[in-house]
Amino acid sequence: MDMNEIKEIFFQECEEQLAELESGLLKLNDGDRDPETVNAVFRAVHSIKGGAGAFGLDDLVSFAHVFETTLDCVRSNKLDPNQDVLKVMLKSADVLADLTNAARDGGGVDEARSKQLIRELEALANGEMPAASEAPAAKPAPALVATPVADDEGFQPIPFSFDDFGGEEKPVEPFAPTCEILFHPKRELYAKGNEATLLLRDLSRIGEMSIRCDMDSLPPLEDMNPEEAYFSWKISIATEKGEDGVRTVFEFAEWDCDLEVRTVEEDHEAEAGKDELPMQPVPFDLSILDDGDDDATGEADEPAAPLSSANTAAESNVVPIAAASRAEPSRSEARAAPAVQQAAAAANPAASAASAAAAAPTIRVDLDRVDRLINLVGELVINQAMLSQSVIENDNTGVSSINMGLEELQQLTREIQDSVMAIRAQPVKPVFQRMSRIVREIADVTGKSVRLITEGENTEVDKTVIDKLAEPLTHMIRNAVDHGLEAPEKREALGKNPEGTVRLTAKHRSGRIVIELADDGGGINREKVRQKAIDNDLIAADANLSDEEIDNLIFHAGFSTADKISDISGRGVGMDVVKRSIQALGGRITISSKPGQGSVFTMSLPLTLAVLDGMVVTVAGQTLVVPLTAIVETLQPEASAIHSFGASQRLISIRNSFCPLVDVGRILNFRSTQADPVDGVALLVESEGGGQRALMVDAIQGQRQVVIKSLEANYTHVPGIAAATILGDGRVALILDVDAVVAASRGQSLKQEISLAATG
């Protein structure tokens, strides 16, 4: 373990603390007044500050310090955490996050913003309330206004460095003044774990000393309180460290003793000061009192052992107390005779369950290790499938024990796979939490008042899915606030709560995760969408579209319904991009909207990206896998349903509507001539634009779950192919990138497609 690793740990911890901070502040915002919530929020900032100080991250430290001071006012009930106060605090939490990121990845932060917040926080700590009206409309102060940050009360972080082990050699002062010390401990000194003998030992180390113990107040044994302080001492010491050095020795004991220290000017005076009883010189080597280990005391003066070598020692020296103490209850459980001591046994797990709930045992593992394991399990699954297949092929006698063994192996393999996948599963909480910041920021910029409600944030899904979810979700949230919710005045005029609500929920449904984003805004303005689509030449002016079809128009590229392109959503990124990213994750997105009541976007995503339910098909002698999620239905085309269109385009009519046929073999250059659709099978897929396409393949082999192997990692990207897999018979099969194939086949425009669908 070296400083960089600890720093890495620090930043990981910061992330957790920031999440803790935000959720705590949000709870307070909802009226939670539990002191523990306030404490947790305070601790989060405090902890970040502590670590940041150790690494000399001064910007972070000074901001955290001001923040902490203000939070301390809340903690001590000096400041009521009302909504205006919390608004400042939530923004401060955002800035703290920015500062943390800047400290980790370099890069700057909005200094004007952080200075502004420092001022606001300090004002709060000083009992000034924020101007409530100023908050939403206020634009960040111009970056050039540099008001000096109020000084942070002399708090100075001392950067932590292991190099500091090298004791700084102070020049030896030749002059060693003599100090006379009167030291009278109080009872508390001993009660608090201080020890007069140790203080005197340390004192003897800084100079040559003589000592006299005053035992006059010592009562006879029968009258004494063994824990009372009776002894007092008079000490004379010649030390170059002087009075200050002496006082430093007594630093911890100062409050619990009477202490007088004075410098004696002349040797004579010291002689004269010697009263009736002589003092004993303390000349000898005291090392024996150091518990025999010279190295421990010497350590402070010696340079530390190089950290690399300390590495192993550091790890081996930790006594895993936590694990051991948790093991304790189960051990005693095991000892208890189950039948006789039912009550005891019942009480015991309850106790251990309680302690487990308090600190769920977790370990941290590098993602790489997990991924390696997942890969290996993938290989195992393939291997097991291959083994099964070859046994079936070669052994027709059907020895049942082998078959049973194989079945068990298959089951076990599947269970291992599921368990390993579960390791990668993470709650969506971090992403959801990030969204609350997004909401705050957009609400601020748009001047809208928004409340974000999240549900099911503990729903788990593969880490990769979580990571890739943030971007589309951010965009959708921005849209929901910017375009979905009405301005407060308008809402009020409509009889709605001026504060808009955005609800973000996650849940598991039939082996997938479903994420819903609902707003209570105006819903999709279909007339406007329709008009826009006509203006943009997306649909014919006379096209007759269902509500659902109109709603789905927003997923088309470059579509924006806001009257003017705003700062937030108008960055050229539209819902089409959102849809594509969701689909790239093997997911689907749908919208349902009610005018005046709001819109709901529903995303359904696979729980893992490591396996995929696919349909194994044959195309021109090649085996391909088509993701099952893309397939709407499969059908056997009849000659009468096939219609030629233009030079080489063909359509298939399905229940009175026409759908373009896509010859997969042609697109992928497996063959040069078009196959006869009647000889093959059509897979009806949902295409990127929302319309449907019929993918022509030669035959369907079956459905199965396959382990995804990246082509990019092992070979190179192949257009039209998303990834590869290995089938049970050992053959490599390519996984089709449905969207890419559809895009490559696009010969006709969207406008035609929709009008055909509409008129068909």
Binding site: E195, C213, A229, F231, M279, L286
Partner: protein, 99 residues
């Protein structure tokens, strides 16, 4: 006074004479009050001031009782700590270990 000779008792001190030991040490000594006492301090590794107080209070008491109170054996840490804190026990040491 034949009984006087028979009353010679001994007490071995614990290795760690800290805050926790002070009361126990006092109780042990109280139980031996009235007897001549030879204390074995050879196992002592650490002496706190509280236990030093108890030992010296006992010395006072024994002196008042006119009983003998000696350290028959003493470890180096014990002797050095006593010297460090300026508690003179030279006169209480058994002849063999006096220096």
């Amino acid at each position: 006074m034949a009984s006087k000779k028979a009353a010679q008792k001994s007490l071995s001190l614990a290795p760690v004479l800290d805050l926790n030991e002070a009361t126990a040490l006092r109780d042990k000594l109280m139980a031996l009050k009235g007897s001549d006492l030879a204390i074995d301090a050879s196992a002592v590794e650490r002496v706190g001031a509280l236990c030093a107080q108890v030992l010296m209070a006992a010395a006072k008491t024994w002196e008042a009782d006119k009983r003998s109170y000696t350290f028959a054996k003493a470890s180096e840490p014990f002797l050095k700590t006593m010297q460090l804190i300026g508690v003179n026990i030279e006169h209480l040491l058994a002849k063999e270990i006096q220096r």
